[in-house]
């Protein structure tokens, strides 16, 4: 009876497809993109070859004489130019003679081509010479070539004598699309900005985790534990509000509190302090609010986990301790905390990952400011790749930064699977075939 296996495959297929398409594939692609130099400037599909002024600057250091030549216009007597000359409505002999005697010739200077033109049988006037010579101006500057071959054949027809290596150099420098590179990773390891962001991230995760997700959550759980049921549930309800409130409104509320027209400013104004933006005033204030904003959200999950764990402690232990005359502090110290070890470990592990990846709140509240003070890793990746002040979005570098988070995430969660004993979770299915 193999029907249950077939059914299983059919029923799990949608989930598998969605996870592969929108979860695993993006992870793989993040890795792929991180090895490229993709930016807005290069585009996300292939590029073209273009000898632009900035590529000439790059060429100058590699092959200076050729770069200098490329900067100058060249004059080639080719079919397209001859057609154009015919269209000018000059004496018909001019085009004919050029085609017969000079087709394929290349002149490196305007002076040379004009001297040649003046020696033609029809002797065009100086004005006409200028007009004709213009038809043969074949500068490679700012021309776009769709492929390497087109670039090379253009260079050949213009009489540039290049060795294959030099050609490759030109192609490399003039390519406007993205290329494979490991620059992103070396930039990440060497840039002082990145070091700063890394430090911010560690500080942010550590502060929020210690102070709120674990510390304050534990305090909340213990406080509500020692309370009559009604106020306890009211307070738990209040502390769950930040979690269920859409993040945009939640951050807006903090801004209302901290802005220069906000509540704190008005309140302090009553005591004679001038209003100011407490949120973005200086780095310390910004950090204070960033930690509070994220901490208030994080406190709720810890509170729920710890509360339910405390509820599971047998009441008799509390009664017994009271008979022995234990103070409330002694109850907390010797009964509650020792039995909280496992939940605390769980919350710490779990929230580390959540905090590492979360940046919505910081994005909306300070956007990494003032300066770069509250820019954390995830936010920085977002800024680099998707919302850049400079306007040039560096997809490749951003993907590389995201990849770092992905690697940390996978490593940590595999570690957690170990710690929290994955084996018991994958017990054999209840009914087999």
């Amino acid at each position: 009876m193999k029907s249950s296996r077939t059914l299983g495959l059919v029923m799990i297929a949608p989930a598998a497809i969605m996870i592969v398409l929108f979860f695993l594939m993006p992870v793989v692609l993040t890795a792929v993109f991180s090895m490229t130099s993709m930016t807005t400037a290069t585009g996300i599909s292939g590029g073209v070859y273009q000898i632009a002024p900035n590529s000439l600057i790059a060429l100058k250091s590699a092959i200076p004489d050729i770069a200098a030549e490329m900067a100058e216009p060249r004059y080639t007597i080719d079919e397209a130019g001859l057609k154009a000359v015919e269209g000018l409505g000059l004496a018909p002999g001019i085009a004919g003679e050029l085609r017969a005697k000079h087709a394929g010739e290349v002149f490196t200077a305007r002076r040379d081509v004009e001297r040649m033109l003046k020696e033609l049988a029809d002797r065009p006037s100086t004005r006409d010479v200028k007009q004709i010579s213009e038809q043969f101006n074949r500068s490679v500057l700012n021309t776009r070539f769709d492929s390497k071959e087109q670039l090379f054949s253009a260079l050949d027809s213009l009489g540039f004598k290049l060795t294959p290596e030099q050609k490759e150099t030109v192609a490399k420098v003039t390519y406007t699309g993205w290329v494979w590179t490991t620059d992103n990773f070396s930039r990440m390891t060497t840039s002082p900005d990145m070091a700063r962001v890394l430090l911010n991230t560690v500080l942010y995760v550590a502060l929020v985790l210690m102070l709120f997700n674990v510390g304050y959550a534990l305090l909340l759980a213990i406080w509500t534990h020692y309370m009559p049921p009604t106020p306890a549930s009211i307070f738990r309800g209040i502390w769950l509000l930040p979690r269920i409130t859409p993040v945009v409104i939640y951050v807006m509320l903090w801004k209302w509190l901290a802005w220069d027209t906000g509540f704190i400013s008005i309140l302090m104004g009553k005591f004679g302090y001038p209003p100011k933006n407490y949120l973005l005033d200086n780095a310390y204030n910004a950090w204070f609010f960033v930690v509070l904003i994220n901490g208030f959200i994080g406190a709720s999950m810890g509170m729920l986990v710890f509360s339910s764990a405390m509820k599971a402690i047998p009441k008799s232990q509390f009664y017994a301790s009271e008979v022995d005359g234990a103070s409330r502090w002694q109850q907390i110290r010797y009964i509650i905390l020792p039995q909280m070890r496992w939940p605390i470990l769980f919350v710490t592990c779990y929230q580390t990952l959540s905090l590492l990846a979360s940046f919505n709140e910081i994005l909306l509240a300070t956007n990494g400011g003032p300066g770069n003070a509250t820019e954390v890793w995830a936010l920085s990746a977002y800024h680099t790749a998707l919302r850049n002040y400079a306007g040039n979005l560096e997809y490749g570098l951003g993907a590389a930064m995201a990849l770092v988070l992905v690697v940390i995430g996978v490593t940590l969660s595999l570690l957690y699977l170990r710690v929290f004993n994955y084996g018991t979770l994958v017990a054999k299915p209840l009914i087999e075939d």
Partner: protein
Amino acid sequence: MAERSQPSANYRSWPVITALTIVSLPLLLMYVYLFLDTVTVKQADALLPSGLTLDHWRFLWQTTEGKANIWQVTVNTLLFAACTTSLVLIVSSMAGYVLSRLNVPARGFFLAGVMVLHAFPSVTLIIAIFIVLQMIGLYNSLIGVILVKAAIDLPLGIWLMKGFYDTVPWEIEMAGVVDGASRFRVWRSLVLPQVKPGIMALGLFSFLSGWGEFILPQVLAPGNQVQVLSVYLAAFLADDNNYDFNMFKAVGVFYLVPVLIVYALFNKYLMNIYGGGSKG
């Protein structure tokens, strides 16, 4: 949830209530003023309102120049949240059952994978997803965001449903199979009703998380036609000074009230998820 949570009657509770009230004050203040400010007039430097008004709610019948129509945006949000929810519910209730009860190849691997993905910094995928959606042309369409959001919510959904299926006694299924029903039939008419609390919890969670989702629509569908409320509000918020903050708060209340209603009615179910762990 709170019944008999008191460990003993030996202690006075007013000191902790006072302490907790003080630390909860900023939160209370923010939420109370959020509602208050939308229906009252207040002088610029006053702490207390001086009169009632409905003027801040005029966005309901007036569309601001250059902004999307609020009803269009609301419909988009609803559509986004509802589609994501149904997708997550259907897909994860099937996959969860398979992982809990049926013997498929690579089951353990799949289960571990789901665990890892669930604890995964999913927002970091957004860069790759952005580039892919641009390539395939689903950028700036609701369908793209819905699929992505549903996929990101799936690991939690599958994991949660698996947990709920695990608690269903397998005699129920045995009975069905013995009576000659197919496994699919057994799942649909016998097992599924047993995990209603799980479906409830996951559905509510999905809906709330879709309703509040910000970064995905912001990046993947910022256009006026497909804008959702969070993006609409964030545009206000980014524009530092030139707006009517009270009207902005009114839009916020308009956006928040459905959440609060859902939460007030169904928080029993939701606790299953928030206790077990969502991100944040």
